[in-house]
């Protein structure tokens, strides 16, 4: 962890330059430019809103579109960071074969690039909040911590996946499938409160219910999305009961994933 931070500092200019390159490249020669970055969450929000009009999802006193958009914001950030991160090493094969710098720069760069897109989504969220006349409370100060946590989760997947992907390209193929499944296992389309209601309050799965709920919250995104909605829209502090299983998992996986990456790094140039 300390090493990551140190490298991040030592190579900050390189990371900045690579991030800038990624952004410039993506939107050069495209007419709509940055608008493409937010198209994905907006489209998903519209689709979910449409679906919701058939099935009916209880969202309490918060309008569904803004609730799901607030869920999509960290979700899309996580999903894109992870999948870009996994591909980041192999797509920079030319550099890896020619020049040495710590290879974790690539997954980190991929993630930082996504922060820019996240920032644009924030602008849209703000606009929606103004439209729905919602005021952020002091609890909104939690947002940076929630985003930071999301970054750690994404890096945990990126490091491991990127290293595997150098040896077996199956990783890059499998990840989108797994992630799209994970989206339905995360409170994106529906709020966490609904899961809580079913399992904890109604005990819908009998005496398995409490364990199932813990299992559900083992997915760090469950805690992240819920916390994000609470601090931004509901004016509540994060629900730590929903956060901690995922947080523990992340704290275990991230160092392992980083160590795995650093070990595999030695052979990147030979194998890639």
């Amino acid at each position: 962890m300390i090493k990551i931070v140190k490298n991040l500092y030592d190579y900050r200019e390189l990371i900045a330059a690579l991030v800038w390159k990624n952004i410039v490249l993506r939107y050069k020669q495209s007419y709509l430019g940055f608008l493409w970055a937010v198209l994905k969450p907006i489209m998903l929000m519209l689709i979910f809103t449409l679906v919701r009009s058939f099935v009916g999802i209880d969202t309490g006193n918060i309008p569904y579109p803004i609730l799901t958009f607030a869920a999509l914001l960290p979700w899309v950030f996580f999903q894109e960071s992870a999948s870009e991160g996994v591909n980041s090493v192999t797509s920079n094969a030319a550099l890896i074969k020619k020049i040495y710098f710590p290879r974790e720069v690539f997954p980190i760069t991929a993630m930082v690039t996504k922060i820019v897109e996240l920032a644009i989504s924030f602008v849209i969220l703000t606009a929606m909040m103004i439209y729905y006349k919602m005021m952020p409370t002091v609890y909104a100060l939690w947002v940076p911590a929630v985003i930071f946590y999301t970054m750690m989760v994404a890096l945990g997947i990126s490091f491991f996946g990127a290293a595997i992907n150098v040896y077996y390209r199956d990783m890059a193929q499998a990840l989108p499938v797994v992630l799209s499944l994970l989206m339905y296992g995360s409170p994106v389309m529906y709020p966490l409160s609904l899961v809580h209601q079913k399992l904890i309050v109604e005990q819908a799965a009998g005496h398995w219910s409490n364990n199932l709920y813990t299992l559900y919250t083992l997915n760090p995104l469950a805690g992240i999305i819920d916390s994000f909605q609470r601090v931004m829209l509901k004016g509540l502090p994060p629900d730590f009961e929903a956060l901690y299983p995922g947080l523990v998992l992340t704290l275990v996986i991230l160092p392992l994933s980083y160590m795995f990456f650093k070990r595999a790094e030695n052979w990147f140039a030979d194998v890639i």
């Binding site: 410039v24 020619k98 020049i99 710098f101 030695n266």
Partner: protein, 418 residues
């Protein structure tokens, strides 16, 4: 303390593809039940290499293709890790392993300068300071804000070289980059390299197939062969040894493949041999001795207005001489049959070394080629050379003298002082 230490470095690569999932499963099963596993063949790219380089040394690494030169550089640049042994580098390294590795085609020249600077670890401030200098050196002022994808390949390489050499590192690792751009730009690159070496006292590692360049720039040369250090030391000696090896290889190739010649079918070269001053058939010639070169040809169809020509060249095809028979031999008609041509050379001026010979015949009013061949025979020039002659290919019949005999050495020094 040496700035670079390489201790018993061995690098093995596995031949063939990365093992598939099935192979992995089969192998782990075999390991479990204690059967021998299928191992893929290993290839030793580097085999127990040890050497050290002191600060300020300029070391050339030469060798045939696949000798392990680039692999060695990759280890020094920390891109690859050795299978066995260790590499210790004390100082910052600027790897110029293939110039323009980080050049992105979508970005403009200027953007690429920033990006590559960051990749090579140059702080942004320094890049900004050096921006004008880099652009000027690259000769791309006009195109610097155009995306690199619209550059010619020469322009891209120029840009890459300009960025890479603006780097301020202790150790420079250069892999075949001096052969970039047109001749004028190559000259500039070469000058810049020399400046870094001679004036800035940088430690440089150079890999090149251009042995002359190596010989000129380096103060030590390492000759690699199949992953081992074949020879190292003084550039002249090592390069000569490499030339000899090369020569053997070329000779062997020529024995296998005869077709180094273009012939119209009217003439065949039957034999080519040398005779020394005592009229003995010889394989090698002596420096500063008379000799003669004999060409036996078989004319199949009668030729008119024939001119012969021959020349010496180095094994890497630097043409040193040409001598044709135009004004010395007037043959209006050359009937079919065997003929022998002799060219006498007085006091052969070629310095000791390995050379090759080429020979050509033209015929007719329009001087069309009826026969031409390069590298027809490789030969060695032997002999002792006086101390006045050091490098090169030819001895010049020249003499040093001082024009004003009244000025002695001490007098010159005193005028300088005044």
């Amino acid at each position: 303390m040496p700035i670079i230490e390489v201790n018993h470095v061995t690098k093995e690569y596995q031949l063939g593809h990365i093992s598939s999932l099935k192979e992995n499963v089969v192998n782990s099963y075999r390991r479990l039940v204690g059967k021998p596993i299928h191992k893929r063949e290993n290839f030793k790219a580097l085999d127990d290499i040890s050497f050290s380089i002191e600060q300020g040394e300029v070391v050339g690494i030469i060798g045939h293709n696949g000798a392990g030169k680039s692999t060695l550089l990759k280890h020094l640049a920390n891109i690859s890790k050795p299978t066995k042994g260790s590499v210790i580098v004390r100082g910052s390294v600027a790897p110029l392993i293939e110039v323009g590795a980080g050049v992105n085609p979508e970005l403009t020249g200027r953007e690429n300068i920033y990006l590559n600077g960051a990749i090579l670890g140059i702080p942004k401030k320094i890049i900004q300071q050096k921006m004008d200098e880099i652009i000027e050196f690259s000769e791309l002022e006009q195109f610097i804000d155009t995306p690199v994808k619209r550059y010619s390949s020469g322009m891209t390489v120029k840009l890459g070289f300009s960025i890479a050499t603006s780097l301020d590192a202790d150790i420079l690792i250069v892999d075949e980059v001096l052969a970039v751009g047109d001749l004028a730009f190559q000259r500039k690159c070469f000058d810049r390299m020399e400046d870094m070496i001679k004036r800035q006292g940088k430690t440089v590692l150079l890999v090149s197939h251009n042995i002359r360049q190596i010989q000129r720039l380096c103060n030590r040369v390492i000759l690699l062969d199949h992953g081992r250090i074949n020879m190292q030391g003084e550039p002249q000696a090592v390069c000569d040894s490499f030339y000899e090896q090369n020569d053997k290889k070329i000779k062997a190739n020529i024995d296998h493949t005869k077709t180094h010649t273009i012939a119209s079918g009217e003439v065949e070269l039957v034999e080519l041999y040398f005779m020394d001053h005592a009229k003995r058939k010889v394989d090698s010639l002596s420096y500063n001795e008379n000799c003669s070169i004999h060409f036996k040809i078989n004319v199949l169809e009668e030729l008119e207005d024939v001119t012969f020509g021959f020349g010496f060249h180095t094994t890497d095809f630097l043409y040193l001489t040409t001598h044709n028979s135009e004004e010395q031999l007037n043959i209006n008609r050359l009937p079919a049959g065997d003929h022998e041509l002799v060219c006498k050379v007085k006091r052969l001026p070629l310095l000791p070394g390995i050379y090759s010979i080429r020979f050509g015949i033209t015929a007719g009013q329009a001087a069309r080629d009826v026969f031409y061949g390069d590298s027809l025979k490789h030969f060695q020039v032997v002999g002792d050379i006086p101390i006045t002659i050091r490098d090169g290919f030819f001895a010049l019949n020249a003499h040093w003298m001082e024009k004003n005999i009244n000025i002695t050495e001490t007098a010159i020094i005193s005028t300088v002082v005044v």
